[in-house]
């Protein structure tokens, strides 16, 4: 973390960048939040630890419009989102100075809480420099421990790898934390009967309170004006007829990001209701892989996405229809 801060200070001082996009200390030990830093003094609040799951790439859309360059901190998986945004002409590559920061898996406070650890006062073992694979957690109920891996976000168990796909410089080591199959959960749902699937998604999506956090955090949901907010369509401000109507929001959103979603997992991370929203996107990714060949959105910034391209090897519509 210190290395990032001193590099940031240097870049600010020598005028390479006008601001730094990173994370600042939150009001609790486990909730750092995205922030701009414009001075060395601002950087006193800079933090980078196991709870810095937030993907900053989307902030670069607005930062691209500002005067001067912005130093942006990207974790390996964030760099995929950034590439995708370049591909969609949503960020200006020349306006960004990308510092690829090391990542050893990010933590999920909800998992820690679910393990019965509450009243947290401080957590050690979350610094990037810590070699420890155990979290030592001080709570008002006494000291607790939890293994780092058990507290990791779901997305880190299916880590895309330790390499940044785009950067100007790298600071810190990364680790591939993959220890689960990416599509295992999808396969389970695919095996369900249509009725079971319906019930599963009904149960999950009925929890939705339409806070829009998933949409607002999603780097693929970068429309200037979302269709759900646009008065051009009847969808804006529509009252629900039942608690399951939010399914439409999520299904439409999944369609809109299909072929563009890098599977960064931010939607599920920020959902206050704990809905596994990434499952929709991952189902699309799995289908795309099977129908059009392996594709990882954001792996590069130039190629055409499988759903916005035509090749002679494309699956015929009949094959797609047959699969349902």
């Amino acid at each position: 973390m210190q290395e990032i801060i001193s590099r940031a200070k240097e870049l600010l001082e020598n005028g390479t960048v006008a601001r730094v996009l990173g994370w600042k200390i939150g009001d609790l030990p486990y909730n750092p939040e995205p922030a701009y830093f414009e001075t060395a003094k601002d950087l006193e609040n800079f933090v980078y630890n196991g709870f810095c799951g937030a993907n900053l790439s989307k902030y670069m859309i607005e930062a691209s419009k500002l005067e001067g360059k912005t130093m942006i901190c990207l974790k390996p998986c964030d760099s995929y989102s950034f590439n995708q945004l370049i591909k969609e002409h949503r960020v200006d590559r020349d306006k960004a100075y990308i510092v690829g920061v090391g990542c050893k898996g990010k933590l999920d406070i909800e998992k820690i809480k679910k393990a019965g650890i509450k009243g947290i006062e401080s957590i050690s073992g979350i610094e990037m420099t810590d070699a420890a694979d155990t979290l030592e957690i001080k709570t008002i109920y006494g000291d607790k421990t939890m293994s780092y891996a058990d507290a990791m976000l779901e997305r880190c168990h299916v880590c895309k790898g330790k390499d940044h796909v785009i950067y100007d410089e790298l600071i810190g080591e990364s680790k591939d934390t993959k220890d689960a199959e990416r599509f295992a959960e999808i396969e389970k749902i695919e095996a369900m009967s249509p009725e079971e699937k319906f019930e599963f998604f009904k149960a999950e999506l009925s929890k939705c309170i339409r806070c829009n956090a998933c949409r607002n955090v999603c780097p693929a949901c970068s429309c200037r004006k979302c269709v759900f907010d646009s008065n051009k369509f009847d969808s804006a401000q529509k009252a629900n007829v039942d608690s399951f109507e939010e399914k439409m929001f999520h299904i439409i959103r999944a369609f809109h990001v299909a072929g563009r979603c890098t599977d960064c997992g931010e939607c599920s991370r920020v959902c206050p209701q704990g809905i596994p929203l990434h499952l929709f996107n991952r189902k699309f990714i799995k289908d795309i892989n099977e129908l059009y060949g392996e594709y990882q959105a954001g792996a590069d910034a130039e190629s055409k996405g499988p759903l916005t391209d035509f090749t002679f090897d494309d699956a015929e519509p009949s094959v797609v229809a047959e699969r349902g």
Binding site: K65, K87, E88, H89, R90, S222, C223, R224, K225, C226, V227, S230, K232, F233, D234, H256, V257, K304, G305, L307, T308, D309, F310, F312, E316
Partner: protein, 662 residues
């Protein structure tokens, strides 16, 4: 609010017998915006159109709905009628209550209910219609014909005779195509070369025709009336202006082992070659893969013997960029590969040949100088078996699902010619069906059977087994006798299915012309627009559109020419106003629409927009309305809904759906 008039047509009894038209009029009279509704026996008739005009004027209608037949049939008619009465033609909507309703339903109550629903949807749409105005674009008075076979030659001649410049692009070193490889042509048995070569000469000599042989289309951009095409003239290694066509280079060339494409690989040719003696132009090319000079750097004999100094080893591909108003595709066909048909022993025996190879065997200029002989040992065959439908009419994916159409006739031709020249040769034809419709076609086939004694057996051949003595054992079945047949033969001829030239996919992609699953180019309408591609300005000539014989090809070539001439004769084109349009304020500039646009109609501009007081530079999509065909792919791809199709906006379509689901 619109003032909508609804006109319900009886179409004689076509609609009125199944739909209660009076009930439809009554039911929609109170729909939002409707101020006038009536029915009439034939709305498309002059009297019907007069009714519409009268209502438009008297009731000051701002939009009309005609409940009648398919818009493909009469949308243009009613648009014109409305325009004459002072209404913008795009304020007309058609509710198709004939093809979509009365013709497919029997129950009058149900059909009437559906007609009302369809009318409601059209009314909901017309309420959101806005007047649209077509734009104009210019027409370049020059046509491109891709492919220099009989189809391309005929099309080019017809267009050129009408006074327009035509360029032919042919990928091989000579024009002439498949027809130049044929021996005789059915049903009159004229010699193919005798009727083709004069046409080749005529095309080459025509002052309005310019032929690029050994050339390919590299890139196409633009749109109907204004295409820009890059033509790659492949390096011939021979200067076309200097070469006199004396042929000495070909004689002296020491590399003579290259398989002759013209003779279907049955013979060989030199590395510097013209495909055949009557080639046009009569200028050879050097096949660099087989040329010793290009392979080793040594040789150069052709350059030494060329009196004209025409040999140019340094020659490079040349790109010619030209503008065209119309493009005709005449890319022709090839026979399928027989890898999937091992049972016919094509790869195992030299005496199993395709029908096109037989043409080269029987042709006086072919490898055997026209003598019918076995390719394995040069002996005269005594028993020849023809197998029909090899790869055609195939139920599985080994071959083609379609009928190749020409095989029944050419097999009858081959059988007849063989029996005529060699009466002692037994000829047997295995067939599934004999299909010989066409002028003088069936008579031709009957002659083969009745006059020439060709033995036709209804049944398929399961296996051809090469025997140790060099003969072939044909295992087949006679379906009429219901028995298995084992037949000894010296030669087996396979009526191999034809398929579009493999390059057609590449060309269709460049032209954004659609192709079907068999790689045949699709017509704009299977019955009513058979020589036009759905892409405006692209026309179809010959087998690229579907299997056909020479007379049909020539007829279609002429038809394609007429369509191209009809286009070239215009100075300006009205463009369809139902094109996509981007809402600059909603556009993200993400390029998704441009990526899916099949017509290359979308580009991006960085421009200043004023978004509710916020002025900023934004990358926004811009649609070239002359290129846009209104397919709507962009509108469904656009995540923010910025892209919309004029005349078919998202809201119009949703309102139609809402009206239907009411």
């Amino acid at each position: 609010m619109q003032r909508v008039g609804v006109f319900v047509c009886h179409c004689g009894s076509n609609i009125a017998a199944t739909v209660d038209v009076k009930r439809v009029v009554e039911a929609i009279s109170n729909e939002p915006g409707v101020v006038h509704a009536e029915d009439y026996q034939y709305m498309c008739s002059e009297a019907g159109q007069a009714l519409i005009a009268k209502a438009i004027k008297e009731k000051a209608l701002t939009g009309i709905v005609v409940c009648s037949c398919s818009p493909r049939m009469h949308e243009a008619t009613f648009r014109k009628a409305a325009e004459r009465a002072g209404l913008n033609p795009y304020m007309v909507e058609i509710a198709n209550i004939r093809e979509h309703c009365s013709w497919i339903h029997k129950d009058i109550v149900e059909a009437t209910e559906k007609a009302v629903i369809l009318a409601r949807a059209a009314i909901a749409k017309v309420n959101l219609n806005t007047p649209l105005k077509p734009g104009e674009s210019r027409v370049t008075k020059r046509a491109l014909v891709i492919g220099g076979g009989i189809a391309g030659i005929q099309t080019a001649l017809d267009i050129a005779d009408a006074g327009y410049e035509v360029d032919i692009v042919e990928k091989t070193p000579s024009i002439g195509g498949r027809m130049s490889q044929l021996d005789k042509t059915f049903p009159t048995l004229d010699c193919s070369a005798c009727i083709l070569t004069p046409k080749m000469v005529e095309a080459a000599a025509h002052e309005k025709i310019n032929i690029y042989t050994y050339s390919e289309v590299d890139k196409v951009s633009g749109f109907v009336g204004d295409f820009t095409v890059d033509i790659r003239k492949k390096a011939r290694s021979v200067d076309m202006d200097k070469c006199t066509g004396c042929g000495v280079c070909q004689e002296k060339c020491p590399s003579k082992k290259a398989p002759s494409e013209f003779n279907r690989g049955l013979g060989t040719r030199s590395a510097i070659y013209t495909p055949f003696a009557q080639a046009i132009p009569n200028v050879p090319v050097i096949d660099r893969e087989n040329c010793i000079k290009f392979k080793t750097g040594k040789c150069g004999i052709c350059a030494k013997v060329c009196q004209a100094g025409a040999i140019d080893y340094e020659q490079k591909d040349e790109i010619i960029t030209e503008k065209y108003g119309a493009i005709v595709v005449a890319t022709g066909f090839d026979t399928i590969k027989l890898d999937n048909y091992d049972e016919y022993a094509y790869s195992q025996s030299k005496d199993v040949i395709t029908s096109l190879e037989l043409e080269r065997v029987m042709n006086a200029a072919g490898t055997t100088k026209g003598h019918l002989e076995r390719l394995s040992d040069g002996k005269a065959p005594k028993d020849i078996v023809f197998i029909q439908c090899v790869g055609s009419r195939c139920a599985d994916d080994r071959g083609k699902s379609y009928c190749s159409k020409i095989c029944c006739m050419y097999t009858a031709k081959h059988a007849m010619l063989i029996r005529d020249k060699y009466p002692d040769v037994n000829v047997t034809v295995f067939y599934i069906d004999v299909r010989t419709p066409g002028k003088n076609f069936d008579e031709f086939y009957r002659r083969a059977v009745e006059q020439y004694g060709v033995n036709y057996i209804k049944g398929q051949v399961g296996k051809v087994i090469p025997q140790p003595d060099g003969s072939l054992l044909v295992q087949g079945v006679d379906l009429l006798d219901n028995k298995q047949i084992l037949k000894q033969a010296d030669m087996v001829v396979l009526a191999t299915a034809i398929e579009p030239d493999p390059d057609v996919r590449k060309i269709a992609t460049m032209l954004t012309a659609s192709i079907d699953t068999n790689n045949f180019l699709t017509e704009a309408h299977a019955k009513l627009r058979p020589v036009e591609s759905p892409t405006a300005g692209i026309f179809l000539s010959g087998v690229c559109q579907g299997p056909k014989d020479i007379p049909e090809t020539v007829a279609q070539a002429g038809a394609a020419a007429v369509k191209a001439i009809g286009l070239l004769a215009k100075d300006k084109l009205l463009t369809n106003p139902c094109t996509a349009k981007a809402d600059e304020l909603l556009c993200n500039g993400c390029s998704a629409c441009a990526n899916v646009c099949p017509y290359g109609a979308i580009s991006y501009e960085v421009k200043e927009v004023n978004d509710h007081g916020i002025r900023e530079q934004r990358r926004v999509a811009v649609v070239n309305s002359a290129l846009c065909q209104g397919c709507g792919a962009c509108t469904v791809t656009c995540p923010s809904g910025a892209m919309d199709l004029q005349g078919f906006s998202n809201l119009q379509i949703i309102s139609e759906v809402d009206a239907i689901c009411q």
